[in-house]
Structures are given as structure tokens and as C-alpha cells.
């Protein structure tokens, strides 16, 4: 299986190049046979890449340590679960994984459009196969072939990084990668539009779902990554402005900008060059993210390899995509002229434009901070890393502006809003916002940013609530429906709008949770069994933790030490909590498994910072039980995950096929049946 997988990778390369050439030549020469050949090549490359992936997974499952990649990321005792995840555990496998996902989406696209949008498809195939070809070149020629053999068979592998041995490993990387790769489709359609000259908003409408799908996966991938960091890295936070975290946030920011600015083009025929640039930028940033994660260029908790060949190939690819796309855009500039002008600065268009500028501002600030070590190294010879303080200082104000815009945008009408009405519409939400800030101030909170965040969040929530309330009310009045029915119909009639509002609510909840960080409490204490540590919550109550004792056990892949604490809240017992240390024998690495007790108000977060005498615990020595614990109270953290759920619901509502599409499908199915019946009647 593995040998066949490697072989499949080698055949996939010429076939993807064939497909690229067939797509471009078939498209420009209007040769249907070449186009068909190109389209078939997409499906073939998918099959070949699936075979290659299966080859890697089967090598992991059968412990074939003669392969460098398997030896580096697995060992005999590794859980089967994580052996399957070996496909994306390291650089080599994740490049294959990336390619197989692109091939999967490409294949779906070709199938979906077998009778539709035919003018686009030859070029779409050309672009997609070009991208796949690039990844195959890297895999086969940049010393990252996952099937490379060591020349000898080690007795055991080096094991998977213990911090990756967590169930989020099965979820976070694949979902994030789905997000990165799904954006390839809108990019391919944008390039196809530039090549075939159909530059109205058609390509945008065609790829709207893909963009949203990509955004959906990206967002969830990032949230899952935060959850992973929170549970596994054991320092009490969920975001560290690590280069790889930043790399995933960059395309998210530009994709978010794109999701909003496409509406301006759809509605008003404006911003055509801007949208082309955004789709290009987002695509490049997804490649940049893959590149940064897997090139080892900037130090990060995620990087595994130091290989400069791959860095140069990646940079060359990004540069050529950039140059080709810019030339195409310049060439088509006369056709990309705006059909309309912004009529008023008090309009949805203007608000979206501002949102775009702010999002791009954030993206550039983060990009700058991320590559700063490289830049400083080039000029001063010393890599200076920019830490979280820089990112927080720059991004908190930007984030607040964005947060406010999520509320302001929806209230302003397209083209031109009526100023008088605006004042009326904003009065109540503004009042709510100010009241909430004032109330929290009165309760004793003094952090300016946190007060602003809560105030603005309340403002946005009030706006969305009023929007839903009034919308349902208006519909109930006009259609004579009950309020609840009217509400359901309202959302159903314009899923994008209302789904979008719900996504905004999710974002607001997350921002409030971020602001909770301002009220963190942390206590460190050395404890003997029976001793206690207390922490006071900013919400007024107090937790008392009693250290009961520590025990050790030997598991398949690691040794563990588990400390048990009992917890009381204001004197009322709320149950036990554990926190542990694990020593992964193969990796010779110690990690912490934190204990988390979640409530809507705050998380009680327990870290086993140190064990005084590990050997003594193993020997069950009653005098060797002294530990060091770190207890944290992280306010509102649960609302990040809850916000994520709300956002997912909103996204799904927006993604759901509109009644129009369903009706069209039903009609065409009915027509099909009718024609079939007619044909049957005629033949009988």
C-alpha cells in the first residue's frame, strides 16, 4: 500500500501538469476535447492523492519506521488514533494532506459545474491543477517526500510531540486546513474571470458559498486551536500571538473583509479591483500560512523542520502567483471599472469600506509583527521577536472599532441612509451600551479597554435584538402572521442577512470573553497534603482548594502523576479536581495536563506547576507529596466557545440553500419528470 502510495504521488505530478495545460489551452482555443481531458485529470489526481494519503496512514498504522516521516512522528506504543493523525502531524504529511483537500474541493467543483458556468471551467481547471502541481513539485523535489526511506529500520520511532497527543489533534488541523484549501476555489474562479473576461459579479455569486464555507472552517479551526492551546499548553491563555496562530488569523481577516466587500460589488457593481485584490491576497495568505507553519522560517511552537529549499520554492510560487495575477488585473483594468459611485458616506457601502480598511489594517499590523524577526535579522543580524504586548497594543483598539462596526453596518441603508432616522435608530442601542459600561464601572471594574468592550458589545447586541424584533414585527404586520412564524419566515427569506447577524452575535460574545482576561486572578502556592489555597473571584465569591494527595501510574506511552484537590465555593463543596504531569518516555518530555472547571462566569484553571519528588511519589513515599500548584480564575472564557457555537449556527443559516435555489432545483426535477413522462407517452 505504502509503495503504491509513493508511486501515486509520482504519477499525480505529470497528470496535474497535463490538466493545467489542457485547461488553459482548451479554454483559449475553445477545444472541448482538451477541456474534458483536463477535467478528468482533476478527478484522477484526487484518486492518486487519496492513494498517497492512504499509503502514509498505512505506514503509520503498521509501524514502518524505515520511512523517515513515520520514524520522526510515531512510535510503536502511540495510540492508533494519533497514528492516523500522523498524516498531518508533521510538515511532509501535512503537505500531502493540503494537496488532497485541494484536489477534493477541485473534484467537487468540476462535478458541480459539468453543465453550468462552462465558460469559467477550463481556466478554473487550469488554475487548480497549477496549484496542485506546485504542491506536488514541493513534495517530490524539496527534500520533503513523506515516503523517503532512512536506509535502515530503527527499532522504534521518536514518537509524536506530546502536546499533539490530545483529541484536538484530530480536529484542529484538519478543520483549519479545510478552511485554507476551500479558499482555493474562489481564487480559481476569480482568475478564470480575469482570463475569460466575464468580469461582472458572476464569479462572486458563483463562489459565495465556497468563500463562506472556507470562512466557516477557518473560524472554527482557529477557535479549536484556541481551545487546544487553552487545554494543552497549560499557561491559562488561549492566544499567544504565536507566528503560526497569526498566520491563520491573517487569511481570516482578509477573508472576512472579502465576505463584506463582495456584497458591495454584487449590489452596486463597485470595488471590482479591490475584490480581485482581496481574493488574491487571501489566497496568498493561506499559502503563506501553510508555508510559515511548515517551513521553519520563524520560531514557533508549531514548527518542526528547518529546511530552506522549501522556503525558496514557496516564496517563488507566491511571487509568481502575485505577478501573474497583478498582470491579469492590470490587463483587464478597463473592464474592472466601477459601475457606480459611492453616493453618500452615510451608506452601507461606506460602512463596509471602512470595515475593510480596518480589517486590512489589522492584517498588516499582524503580518508586520510576525515577519519582524526576519526583517530585523536581515538588517541588524539579530532576530528580534515582537511579543504579545505589541500585538495587544495595536489590535485591541482596532478590534474595538471592528466590534462597533458589526453593529453600525447593519443599521445603515444601502446607497444612502436617512440621517434623521439614523439618530433615532442608534439612540436606544447607544443608551444600552453606555448604561452597561456605567454599571460595570459602578461594580468596580476600572480597565478602560474592558469597559469599552462591554459597552460596545451591549450596543451591538441591542442593535441586533432591535433588528430582529422590528423585522419580525414588520413582517407579522404585513403578512398577518404570528410573531414567531414571522420570525422564522423572516430569517428564511434572507438567510444571508440574518445568518450574518447571528454570526455578529457570536463575535460579540467572543469579544466580551476576551475582555474577561483583564480580570484574571492567579495564585501560586506550594502545598503539602491537607493544606489549602484560596482564590478570590472578581465576581465576589471565593474558592478554597484543599490538596488531598498525589498518585502515579504507568500508561502505555507515558508515566503520569495526578494531584487531587477538593474544591469549595464560598464554603459549599463543588467537587474534586485533578491536574497532572505526564512524562512521555519515548520523547523524554514532560507535559502538564491542567484541570478546568467551567462555569458561565469563570473557569477555575488548575496547573500542577511542579512535583517536588517524582521518584518518591512513584515509590509511594508519604513524605514525598509536596507539590507546587498554580490556580487561575479566567473570567468569561466559556463564552468564547459558546460564541463559537452561535457563530457556527449563524454560518450554517447563511450557508443553507436559499428557497430560490431549492425551488429552482425542484422545478428542474419536475420538468425532467414531465419530459420523461412525455417521452414515455410518445413511445408507447
Amino acid at each position: 500500500m505504502t509503495a503504491l502510495g509513493e508511486f501515486a504521488l509520482w504519477i499525480a505530478l505529470p497528470i496535474s501538469f497535463w490538466g493545467m495545460v489542457m485547461g488553459f489551452v482548451g479554454g483559449s482555443q475553445k477545444r472541448g476535447d482538451l477541456v474534458l481531458s483536463g477535467e478528468r485529470s482533476v478527478h484522477i489526481v484526487l484518486v492518486l492523492l487519496v492513494l498517497a494519503s492512504l499509503g502514509i496512514v498505512s505506514a503509520f498504522l503498521t509501524d514502518q519506521f524505515q520511512y523517515y516521516y513515520v520514524a520522526a512522528y510515531s512510535n510503536r506504543d502511540l495510540d492508533t488514533f494519533f497514528k492516523v493523525a500522523g498524516l498531518w502531524a508533521g510538515q511532509r504529511g501535512s503537505l500531502v494532506f493540503w494537496a488532497v483537500l485541494v484536489a477534493f474541493f477541485s473534484s467537487i467543483t468540476v462535478f458541480q459545474n459539468r453543465n453550468r458556468n462552462r465558460e469559467f471551467m477550463p481556466y478554473v481547471v487550469g488554475v487548480l491543477q497549477g496549484i496542485l502541481g506546485f504542491f506536488l513539485v514541493i513534495l517530490l523535489f524539496a527534500q520533503v517526500n513523506p515516503f523517503e526511506q532512512l536506509g535502515f529500520i530503527p527499532a522504534d520511532g521518536q514518537g509524536l510531540n506530546p502536546q499533539l497527543q490530545n483529541y484536538w489533534m484530530m480536529v484542529h488541523p484538519p478543520v483549519l486546513y479545510l478552511g485554507f484549501t476551500a479558499f482555493t476555489i474562489p481564487f480559481a474562479f476569480a482568475m478564470a474571470a480575469l482570463l475569460n473576461g466575464r468580469l461582472d459579479s458572476r464569479w462572486i455569486v458563483l463562489t459565495r458559498r465556497w468563500t463562506l464555507l472556507s470562512w466557516f472552517f477557518l473560524t472554527n479551526g482557529i477557535i479549536f486551536g484556541m481551545r487546544w492551546a487553552y487545554e494543552e499548553l497549560g499557561w491559562g491563555g488561549y492566544w499567544f500571538w504565536d507566528p503560526v496562530e497569526n498566520a491563520s488569523l491573517l487569511p481570516w481577516l482578509t477573508a472576512t473583509a472579502f465576505l463584506h466587500s463582495v456584497m458591495i460589488q454584487e449590489n452596486r457593481g463597485m470595488l471590482k479591483v479591490w475584490n480581485m485584490s482581496l481574493v488574491l491576497l487571501t489566497f496568498l495568505l493561506t499559502i503563506f500560512a501553510t508555508f510559515l507553519t511548515r517551513s521553519g522560517l520563524i520560531d514557533s511552537v508549531h514548527t518542526f523542520a528547518q529546511n530552506t529549499t522549501i522556503a525558496f520554492i514557496f516564496l517563488a510560487f507566491m511571487a509568481s502567483v502575485l505577478v501573474a495575477a497583478v498582470i491579469l488585473i492590470l490587463h483587464r483594468l478597463p473592464d474592472l471599472r466601477s459601475e457606480n459611485q459611492i453616493e453618500s458616506f452615510l451608506s452601507r457601502e461606506a460602512a463596509f469600506l471602512l470595515n475593510n480598511l480596518v480589517l486590512l489594517g489589522a492584517a498588516f499590523a499582524i503580518l508586520w509583527g510576525t515577519v519582524f524577526p526576519l526583517v530585523s535579522e536581515a538588517f541588524t543580524g539579530q532576530a528580534i521577536a515582537v511579543g504579545p504586548p505589541f500585538f495587544n497594543r495595536v489590535n485591541i483598539p482596532i478590534g474595538l472599532v471592528l466590534l462597533a462596526l458589526t453593529g453600525i453596518g447593519p443599521v445603515i441603508a444601502w446607497r444612502r441612509a436617512t440621517g434623521r432616522n439614523l439618530k433615532k435608530n442608534f439612540a436606544f442601542p447607544l443608551l444600552v451600551g453606555v448604561a452597561v459600561s456605567a454599571a460595570i464601572f459602578a461594580l468596580g471594574a476600572r480597565n478602560g479597554y474592558a469597559l469599552a468592550t462591554f459597552g460596545i458589545s451591549a450596543f451591538v447586541l441591542a442593535i441586533v435584538a432591535v433588528e430582529f424584533w422590528k423585522g419580525a414585527g414588520a413582517r407579522a404586520r404585513i403578512e398577518g402572521e404570528g410573531l414567531l412564524t414571522a420570525f422564522v419566515h423572516l430569517v428564511g427569506r434572507n438567510r444571508r442577512r440574518w445568518g450574518g447577524y447571528i454570526v455578529h452575535v457570536g463575535i460579540v460574545l467572543m469579544f466580551m470573553a476576551f475582555a474577561g482576561r483583564a480580570f484574571e486572578v492567579e495564585v501560586r502556592k506550594a502545598l503539602n497534603p491537607g493544606e489549602t489555597v484560596s482564590v478570590a473571584s472578581p465576581f465576589g465569591h471565593e474558592y478554597l482548594l484543599t490538596y488531598e494527595g498525589i498518585s502515579s501510574s504507568r500508561e502505555a506511552n507515558f508515566d503520569r502523576w495526578v494531584a487531587l484537590m477538593t474544591v469549595e465555593r464560598n464554603g459549599v463543596p463543588v467537587g474534586p479536581m485533578t491536574t497532572e504531569r505526564r512524562f512521555y518516555r519515548v520523547n523524554r518530555q514532560m507535559v502538564t495536563e491542567v484541570g478546568i472547571r467551567t462555569t458561565p462566569l469563570e473557569d477555575l484553571y488548575l496547573i500542577l506547576a511542579d512535583v517536588e519528588d517524582f521518584e518518591g511519589v512513584v515509590a509511594n513515599d508519604p513524605d514525598a507529596q509536596r507539590i507546587m500548584v498554580q490556580v487561575m480564575l479566567n473570567p468569561l472564557v466559556a463564552w468564547i466557545w459558546f460564541g463559537g457555537v452561535v457563530l457556527t449556527i449563524g454560518c450554517l443559516i447563511a450557508l443553507w440553500p436559499s428557497p430560490e435555489v431549492v425551488r429552482r432545483r425542484e422545478v428542474s426535477a419536475a420538468e425532467g419528470e414531465a419530459t420523461g413522462a412525455l417521452a414515455g407517452a410518445a413511445s408507447s
Binding site: 481531458s37 453543465n115 462552462r118 465558460e119 436617512t418 422590528k470
Partner: protein, 151 residues
């Protein structure tokens, strides 16, 4: 075994991608009637804008004046798009469009003329010529002229 698998893989892949080129089997280069035309596309956008404007007016985001002005502008755009769509249909159907619509007009005129003095069948609703005693469609006896059903 692996060699056999590899050979099959290569053979199959090469066959599939070369087959269209050799046999001349083609993928369609244009989508027949599936995609909206430019005018249809513009019409859709205008109608959606109209829907948005109505919604924003109902929600109190647009004042009366602005709403009326916007509605006029968007309606004009929608109308232009609908005219363009009509012209497109005419063009694509060609002279058949004219004769077909002429046929339709005649048919309508015939039915109208028949109905002037005629009567609807109370059973099947078929319009019958004036003076008919039985329905020419279903054979039911026709009662009073000029009415389709009892008052």
C-alpha cells in the same frame, strides 16, 4: 503485486485523460440555458435591491423621501434589465418568437370571441360557443348561457 498495481494506475490514468483527445469526445464549452444571461443577472440584482430598500424602509432605516427616490431609481434599473431580457429572448428565439406570440394573440382573440356569447361548462369549465347545448369537451348538458356556474 505493487508493480501490477502501479501499471494499472498509470494505464488507467493515461487512458482516461487521452481518451477525449483521441476519440474527440468533448466537454461543453457553453452552458446551454443553465446560467442566467447578463440581463437576467441585472434584473435579479435590481429586484434584490428593491427588496432591501423595502425592508430598510419598513425597518425605519430609510425616510419616506429617500425611500421613494431610491425606489424610483431601482425600479428604472429593474425595468431596463427586464426590457433587455425581453430583447435577449426575442433575439435568441428569432422570428419564431414573433410568430409564436402572434399565434398566441390569435388564440386569445378566438377564445374571447367565443366567450362573448358563449358559456362555460359547469362540469369541466370548458368555454363553449354561443348556442351550444352540450359541452364540446365533456358532453354535459349546458344550461343557461353566459354563466359558468349557478349564481
Amino acid at each position: 503485486m505493487v508493480t501490477l498495481g502501479a501499471l494499472l494506475l498509470v494505464g488507467f490514468s493515461v487512458f482516461l485523460i487521452l481518451h477525449p483527445v483521441i476519440s474527440g469526445k468533448e466537454a461543453p464549452l457553453e452552458s446551454a440555458g443553465e446560467d442566467p444571461s447578463d440581463a437576467q443577472f441585472r434584473k435579479r440584482v435590481s429586484l434584490l435591491q428593491l427588496r432591501d430598500a423595502e425592508y430598510e424602509y419598513a425597518m425605519g432605516k430609510l425616510g419616506e423621501e429617500d425611500y421613494q427616490a431610491l425606489r424610483k431609481e431601482i425600479s428604472a434599473e429593474a425595468l431596463a434589465a427586464i426590457r433587455a431580457e425581453l430583447a435577449e429572448t426575442r433575439e435568441s428565439v428569432g422570428p419564431a418568437y414573433e410568430s409564436e406570440s402572434a399565434d398566441l394573440e390569435q388564440e386569445i382573440a378566438r377564445v374571447r370571441a367565443r366567450l362573448k356569447g358563449g358559456t362555460f361548462c359547469s362540469e369541466c369549465g370548458h368555454p363553449n360557443d354561443a348556442g351550444s347545448r352540450f359541452c364540446s369537451q365533456c358532453g354535459s348538458p349546458l344550461q343557461s348561457p353566459r354563466t359558468s356556474s349557478a349564481p
